[in-house]
């Protein structure tokens, strides 16, 4: 039970708790904030996985942008400040069952995979951030997906402005 493992377990536990609270809590704002907690935990996982860049980007994008957007949306789509009534619909039982089945199925599938219990080789001493930059911007690597993603973002920008614009 090494230190890193303890850290991982704590993080994982908090992630799962936050996630469950997120899907079950009554208040939408709380749900959004629980999402923030979850994402933060994921960022910690990224750090554990020695991907600091992704960790920081996770915080920037998800917590800095997406979560905020969610909170805005929550506040823009309510007449009264507090939610009333149950937040789960009538299908919650079967939904829960299906979720559980999915998890079990995935777990089973994974356990049948031989690389399931592999351990990470120690990271070669390279500047992953720089390499990531090269990979993203070199034509023989991932330049095209990168550009496509940027185009997608642009399209999303225009589209969201269009659909949510207040036509009077």
């Amino acid at each position: 039970m090494s230190f890193v493992q303890i850290v991982f377990l704590v993080t994982a536990l908090s992630i799962l708790i936050a996630a469950v609270r997120m899907v079950t809590t009554g208040s939408m704002v709380h749900a959004a904030l629980w999402l923030v907690a979850t994402l933060f935990g994921v960022a910690v996982l990224f750090v554990l996985l020695e991907a600091p860049f992704l960790a920081v980007v996770q915080v920037v994008i998800y917590i800095g942008a997406i979560a905020i957007m969610f909170i805005f949306a929550v506040m823009l789509t309510r007449r009264e400040m507090l939610d009333k009534g149950p937040q789960l619909n009538t299908k919650k039982g079967i939904a829960a069952a299906l979720g559980a089945v999915t998890f079990v199925g995935l777990a089973l599938m994974l356990t049948t995979w031989e690389g399931f219990d592999s351990y990470a080789r120690p990271m070669a001493n390279v500047d992953t951030v720089a390499r990531l930059g090269d990979a993203l911007l070199s034509p023989d690597a991932y330049l095209l997906p990168f550009e496509v993603a940027s185009v997608l973002l642009l399209a999303a920008l225009v589209g969201s402005v269009y659909v949510s614009i207040n036509k009077k």
Binding site: K91, V101, G105
Partner: protein, 725 residues
């Protein structure tokens, strides 16, 4: 620059000008005509450069400028198109370049550039008058600018492209392309004032008539290609055994040799294009177009193209014929048609009153001279007359144009509606428009072959001499008579137009047109005189002046045509004839008063005069024998009998039967069985199912998700069971 490159480039500028004007600049008048004239100038410069390089070479006839490229693949080889400049092309280029440029410039003035817009001009009509008011409040009418100014320059640009293509092309196909382009342009330009019914009809007439010739010409081309496998002139004509083969093989039709038949077919194309009898009827009506068009198409270039074609295929026509031998059938026919046309058109020209129509008929007859010369095998003489005639006839047409212009101006000014083209409304223009007078006089004298000075004399004399020396008496006499008539009607025209006293107000107020119109006249006049001196027979001067033209153009042919021994008789005859004609013309018409009848009408028996006046009733004949039957065929036979009765009747009966069958099927099978049972029944079943199934479509996204996921889970479970177990 490489000479062949220049030759390739010569036709292009006018085409570019056409595109530019049509697409971009058609709203800008000045820009449009600048572009057109600039293009003409470029082509002109190109042709001149080529010509001088050609003249520079000794015995140019053997090593000519030619270059060709692959156009489209034919089987395993390519069809080659290319350019060729040999002596004949050179001289043709010479007069084409000059006349085209001159006419372009002339058009600017003729279409009243710089004049105000008309009061009620409308597109498709000749420009109307415009009222000008000067500062003193005097208002007077002036000619107004052509409403479709830019369009005109676009059209003549395209026309020039066609002409240059025809001249420089080294094979019959591209020649034919240029030929047809010119046909189209002639149609467009004759019908330029399309709001005039007469112009419309004339355009259609010209197009149709020439088409008759063109189709047959195309047959000839096809035949030639089928027989020889090429259409390149030099490949065929400079290939003795091929020529011999052509000459000796007999064609399936009327015992002609293949060469003769092909030559004949091609010649019919010429008959259409050069308005030879019997396809001459379109040319006089073509005078409905603007005068520069008449000058360009119907004097200088297009009709010359017909003769040019015959000159090109001359070796075919004369295949197997040596000078001195009796003419072969093709040549006989050609000679006959030429001669007949010459005299025939001359007689008509005598009685015409429209200044342009007179010239039109004289054109026909002069072309007849050339054709006749070719028929007799006088190659060089024909070419020579072609060149000189191009110059002086262009000059005459432009002159008549400026006369009409002047008289029109007078008519507008005085407001009397005299027909500005009728020579009997003119007279005394000598003082009003001196430049026009002198240039027109020069042209006229050249046309009538005024001795020793003018170009026309030398060329026409060469033809006559040829006829005389080869003892074609019939031809000689006819042509001499034609020369007499030519001189006569030319003098008649000059006298009626310029001499004496003005017969109408309009003529009284006519005045000299703008410089853009007079300068081309002057330049052309210079050529109308000077060009003839290139071909003075050596016999006359004892070789002091070499007959350069003969040497040069003669080089075109494989075996050089020998120069005739000089013979004074025909020359004297032609001198006498010309002078007599001129004198008669002057005598008869020198004092015609206003409103007086044509003295000729008094002199000649009525029916002859009317026959001539009505052009031997050729239009009537054509209307009666060709148009009426066609109308009857289409209106009565095809429409009423065949269509209405036979075809429609059959169809109707079939339709009725079909209807009956259909009705019965519908009543006894369709309605009860198909509709009732299958149609409605299936619909009912479907509806029932739909009612039951719609419950699975709650329209709630999450329900769908749950459903699909559940299905996936089940499926995965099944797979897992079968895979793992």
């Amino acid at each position: 620059m490489q000479t062949t490159t220049i030759i390739w480039l010569i036709p292009l500028p006018p085409l570019l000008a056409f595109a530019l004007i049509v697409l971009l600049t058609n709203r800008r008048k000045a820009l449009s005509h600048s572009i057109a004239i600039g293009a003409a100038l470029l082509s002109f410069i190109g042709s001149m450069v080529v010509i001088f390089r050609a003249i520079g070479l000794p015995n140019f006839g053997e090593k000519v400028f030619e270059s060709s490229i692959n156009w489209f693949p034919t089987g395993n080889t390519y069809f080659q198109i290319g350019v060729l400049v040999d002596p004949l092309t050179a001289v043709t280029l010479f007069f084409v370049g000059w006349t085209v440029l001159m006419i372009f410039i002339y058009s600017v003035g003729y279409h009243n550039f710089g004049q105000p817009r008309g009061d009620h001009d409308q597109k498709g009509l000749a420009p109307h008058g415009a009222t000008l008011t000067d500062e003193h409040g005097h208002s007077h009418r002036v000619p107004s600018i052509e409403p479709m100014y830019a369009r005109f320059f676009a059209f003549i640009g395209l026309f020039a492209f066609g002409m240059y293509t025809l001249v420089v092309s080294d094979n019959l196909l591209t020649l034919f392309v240029g030929w047809e382009i010119m046909g189209l342009c002639s149609y467009l330009l004759i019908g330029f004032w399309y709001a005039k019914p007469s112009a419309r009809d004339a355009a259609i007439k010209a197009f149709m008539t020439t088409r008759v010739g063109d189709v047959i010409m195309l047959l000839g081309i096809a035949y030639l290609y089928w027989f020889t496998g090429t259409l390149n002139f030099r490949d065929i004509f400079n290939n003795p055994q091929l020529m011999h083969q052509l000459a000796t093989t007999t064609a399936p039709i009327l015992g002609l040799s293949v060469a003769g038949l092909i030559g004949l077919l091609l010649f019919i194309g010429t008959v259409g294009k050069s308005a030879q009898w019997p396809l001459h009827v379109w040319l006089p009506d073509a005078m409905e177009g603007p005068t520069p068009v008449s000058a360009m198409i119907h004097a200088a270039t297009m009709v010359s193209a017909g003769v040019y074609l015959v000159l090109r295929v001359y070796p075919l026509i004369t295949a197997g014929w040596e000078p001195g031998m009796p003419l072969n059938p093709t040549m006989t026919l050609i000679a006959f048609i030429g001669t007949f046309t010459a005299i025939f058109a001359a007689t008509i020209a005598v009685t015409q009153n429209d200044i342009k129509r007179v010239l039109a008929y004289s054109t026909i007859s002069q072309l007849g001279y050339m054709i006749a010369a070719l028929g007799m095998g006088a190659y060089v003489a024909a070419a020579f007359h072609l060149v000189t005639h191009a110059f002086f006839k262009a000059l005459l047409f432009l002159g008549s144009g400026s006369v009409i212009h002047g008289v029109e101006h007078g008519a507008l000014h005085t407001g009397d509606h005299a027909d500005p083209q009728d020579m009997f409304n003119m007279g005394g223009l000598r003082k009003k428009m001196p430049i026009t007078f002198w240039t027109f006089l020069i042209g006229g004298l050249a046309l009538s072959g005024f001795p020793l000075v003018t170009a026309g004399f030398w060329s026409k004399d060469e033809i006559l001499a040829h006829a005389f020396d080869n003892t074609h008496w019939a031809i000689f006499v006819t042509l001499a008579l034609g020369a007499l008539l030519t001189a006569f009607y030319t003098m008649r025209q000059i006298t009626l137009t310029f001499l004496g006293e003005p017969r109408t107000e309009a003529a009284g107020h006519a005045h000299e047109p703008s410089r853009t119109m007079t300068w081309p006249l002057i330049i052309l006049a210079v050529f109308a005189i000077g060009i003839g001196w290139l071909g003075i027979p050596e016999g006359l001067t004892g070789g002091a002046i070499p007959n350069w033209f003969h040497e040069f153009v003669g080089g075109t042919l494989l075996e050089h045509p020998e120069t005739l021994p000089f013979n004074p008789v025909p020359m004297l005859i032609s001198i006498v004839v010309a002078l007599t004609g001129l004198f008669l013309g002057w005598m008869v018409y020198r004092n015609v008063k206003a409103g007086q009848k044509d003295p000729l009408q008094v002199a000649l028996p009525a029916f002859i005069y009317n026959t001539l006046k009505n052009k031997y009733y050729f239009d009537v004949l054509y209307t009666f024998f060709l148009l009426r039957p066609v109308w009857w065929l289409s209106e009565t036979f095809s429409y009423l009998i065949v269509d209405k009765w036979a075809i429609d009747g059959t169809l109707h009966s079939v339709g009725f039967v079909a209807q009956w069958i259909g009705r019965s099927i519908r009543e006894y099978f369709d309605a009860p069985f198909i509709n009732g049972f299958i149609g409605d029944g299936s619909a009912a079943v479907t509806q029932w199912f739909g009612q039951k199934l719609k419950l699975s479509q709650p329209g709630r996204v999450q329900s769908y998700l749950v459903g699909s996921l559940a299905f996936i889970v089940v499926l995965a479970g099944i797979f897992a069971y079968f895979l793992l177990a």
